[in-house]
């Protein structure tokens, strides 16, 4: 309940705070008795931004929790493992070389990129024998390679530079209703799949042998988890660019009060991640007023120290 209340509060803040100050009365007016006045238009624009933030936040949180359980790795995060970078490289390719400009067109490229990099990192990291360090290194190295590719595209094509330099940071600023509608089916499917996977993933977390003894179908669970993560990360990245660390932080916070049961962790992550994402977005709007700091920058600046803290706190054996 407290989590849901917090979410409502942040969503309200996300509508009320921005370059144009609005009173709560104006927000109320815009939400429920819209007449098309200036204040109402502002509320309408911020509403789509907030809704997209909610969806993408929940997607990244769920994807992070699923990946952490799947890889049995406390440091797994869609951004850190390079999955978001894969999706964005694919999207840039689609925009520049194939002239795809609609979200519904390049979301498929995003899925392909996310899935390809996910598989690549998993193999490069050593599959079953993967340790957190190996996976993180493999993800970072692949991200670096893809980043180099993005830069090569931006150098050779001025139009791409104009567009990409904003998109590759990760921002909610360009949200529109059509974007939301176009990614909603994929995000919805991914979220439902992720929540359904809670019980089988619980078994996976106990280790291969125990899971098999408990009658879990390991390969099916792994494949479905990868599918869920790909759907969630691909659609989220297609909608607002690569965003790091949200999927890393939230599951850790949640685990501290729910314990290790994924049937609790996943729903809580789905509710609390948007709090983080929208909160970061609001902070970005307050800090750099009247311009704004992109949400991807804020989450990275908040998430980096948290990540380092996690690394320092854990004992070697747990990593």
């Amino acid at each position: 309940m407290a989590a849901a209340g917090l979410l409502a509060l942040v969503a309200l803040a996300s509508i009320a705070i921005g370059a144009k100050e609005l009173t709560l009365a104006q927000v109320w007016h815009g939400l429920f008795q819209s007449t098309g006045s200036y204040g109402d238009v502002v509320v309408d624009e911020r509403l789509s931004r907030t809704v997209l933030g909610l969806l993408v936040g929940a997607a990244l949180g769920l994807a992070g929790a699923v990946l952490q359980a799947l890889t049995r790795n406390p440091l797994a995060d869609p951004g850190l493992l390079g999955i978001n970078a894969g999706a964005s490289a694919a999207v840039v390719t689609a925009m520049t070389f194939f002239g795809v400009s609609s979200v519904s067109g390049y979301v498929w490229f995003a899925f392909a990129g996310a899935a390809a990099v996910g598989a690549l990192v998993w193999f490069l990291g050593g599959s079953r024998g993967a340790t957190p360090v190996r996976l993180a290194l493999a993800g970072t190295a692949i991200s670096a390679a893809l980043y180099g590719y993005l830069q090569a595209v931006m150098i050779t094509d001025d139009a791409a530079l104009g567009k990409m330099r904003f998109w590759t940071v990760g921002s909610l600023a360009t949200a529109t209703d059509t974007t939301i509608l176009q990614v909603l089916p994929f995000l919805g499917a991914g979220m439902v799949l992720a929540l359904l996977l809670a019980r089988p993933l619980n078994a996976v977390e106990m280790g291969d042998d125990t899971a098999r003894a408990l009658g879990a179908n390991l390969n099916r669970t792994r494949a479905l988890s990868m599918l869920a993560a790909t759907l969630l990360c691909g659609a989220a990245t297609a909608a607002c660019g690569p965003i790091v660390f949200v999927g890393l932080m939230v599951p850790h916070v949640v685990r501290s009060f729910t314990g290790p049961d994924l049937r609790w962790i996943l729903p809580y992550a789905a509710v609390l991640s948007p709090v983080l994402l929208l909160g970061s977005d609001v902070v970005g709007r307050i800090v750099a007023r009247p311009a704004e700091l992109q949400v991807g920058v804020v989450t990275a600046v908040i998430g980096g120290p948290v990540f380092i803290l996690l690394v320092r706190r854990r004992r070697t054996a747990q990593l």
Binding site: L124, T140, A141, I155, L161, G296, G303, F307, I308, R312
Partner: protein
């Protein structure tokens, strides 16, 4: 993590498989108790790499809008060319090639040091966020102050050093361990990369284009003013690093063993890391973050020498060869000064990662 060891002999190498694992070594002993083991194969590799680097350099000097044949280049270098050639070679292309050689050598050496200290073939300065830090410093100068080339160089230097210091301090906890260093570096790298992205969105279009070219790493328009500082730094750091190489070799067996063998673990590690950070920062300041040279050079060198241990000198030569060859390839394939060298090394790095995927994974050594 202790089992992750990059120093185990490469069992897939044919020589090891054939049972000739013992290298053709020869020890030099000086009267004062000093001794130095010379590995014939490593010496041959170094010689071959130097030859390759020189060949690529001569070819690179001859390449451009005004092509010069290799014979003319050599003649001009020793002082026998005509005036036009003299100007082009001495003033325009020689400094560029020298910067390329020095930067490549610095990156190769820094990569070997970092991979050895972190005991991981992927633990190179570009993955650990040092290049990103140097980039951030340069971007601040380009975007916020529209600074001159010298200011950008200074900013990159400061950014790289500050990032290195931050990573070391954040990873410090009764000593710096390989795995923590790697993870903290990755965290710092993610933060700095996001900040870099923000700086680029803040820039106006001309600055952004300049920043992106800088961020890819380019040797265009380098002159003698960049050669001398690099050369001076190299002259100081190379002997320092080589004097600590023995300690580094011990460190690869693990901290406990090293203590027992009388190595001052933290001191050796600190000296080597500071050197590696300085080398990376200087190289990045000179021509931007050229990706993946630091990652690939030590690995390729190790495969050529087939010897365990840090392989510092072969890595250094390999880095120089790689960078100059990549620059030459960039100019030949895409026309003069069309694509910066960083794009070519980036592609090479991607191929290297794929190859790593196939071989290293099978051996379980990443």
């Amino acid at each position: 993590m202790r089992t992750v060891r990059k120093t185990t002999p490469d069992t897939s190498a044919p020589a090891a498989a054939a049972g000739t694992a013992r290298p053709l070594g020869r020890a030099l002993r000086a009267p004062g108790g000093l001794s130095l083991r010379l590995d014939a194969r490593a010496l041959a590799v170094v010689a071959a790499l130097l030859l390759a680097a020189l060949t690529a350099s001569v070819l690179l000097i001859g390449t451009g809008d005004f092509p010069i044949s290799a014979g003319d280049v050599l003649r001009t270098l020793v002082g026998g060319g005509d005036r036009g050639q003299e100007f082009i070679v001495r003033e325009l292309r020689l400094p560029r090639v020298l910067v390329g050689l020095l930067v490549g050598a610095s990156l190769g050496l820094a990569g070997a040091l970092f991979q050895s200290v972190t005991r991981n073939p992927l633990g190179s300065p570009d993955v650990l966020g040092l290049s990103a830090g140097a980039t951030a410093g340069a971007l601040v100068m380009i975007v916020l102050f529209s600074g001159s080339a010298a200011a950008v160089t200074g900013g990159a230097l400061v950014g790289g050093l500050a990032t290195g210091l931050a990573i070391y301090l954040l990873a410090w906890k009764q000593g710096v361990h390989g795995y923590r260093l790697v993870l903290v570096g990755i965290g710092v790298s993610a933060v700095v990369t996001a900040v870099n992205g923000y700086l680029i969105t803040k820039a106006d279009f001309v600055d952004a284009a300049r920043a992106v070219v800088w961020m890819t790493g380019s040797l265009n328009g380098r002159d003698w003013t960049q050669v001398w500082p690099l050369l001076a730094l190299f002259a100081v750091l190379l002997p320092l690093v080589l004097s600590q190489a023995r300690g580094l070799r011990m460190l690869e067996m693990g901290d406990d063993v090293s203590y027992a063998l009388g190595v001052r673990v933290e001191r050796v590690r600190l000296v080597l890391m500071v050197s590696a950070v300085l080398l990376t920062a200087a190289a990045t300041a000179a021509c931007g973050p050229v990706t993946f040279v630091a990652l690939t050079a030590p690995q390729l060198a190790r495969r050529l020498t087939r010897s365990p241990g840090p392989n510092l000198v072969p890595s250094l030569c390999m880095g120089a060869t790689l960078l100059v060859t990549a620059d030459w390839a960039a100019q030949r394939l895409f026309g003069a000064d069309q694509l910066p060298v960083g794009v070519v090394t980036g592609v090479l790095g991607g191929l290297y990662l794929l190859w790593l995927l196939v071989t290293e994974r099978r051996a379980g050594r990443i």
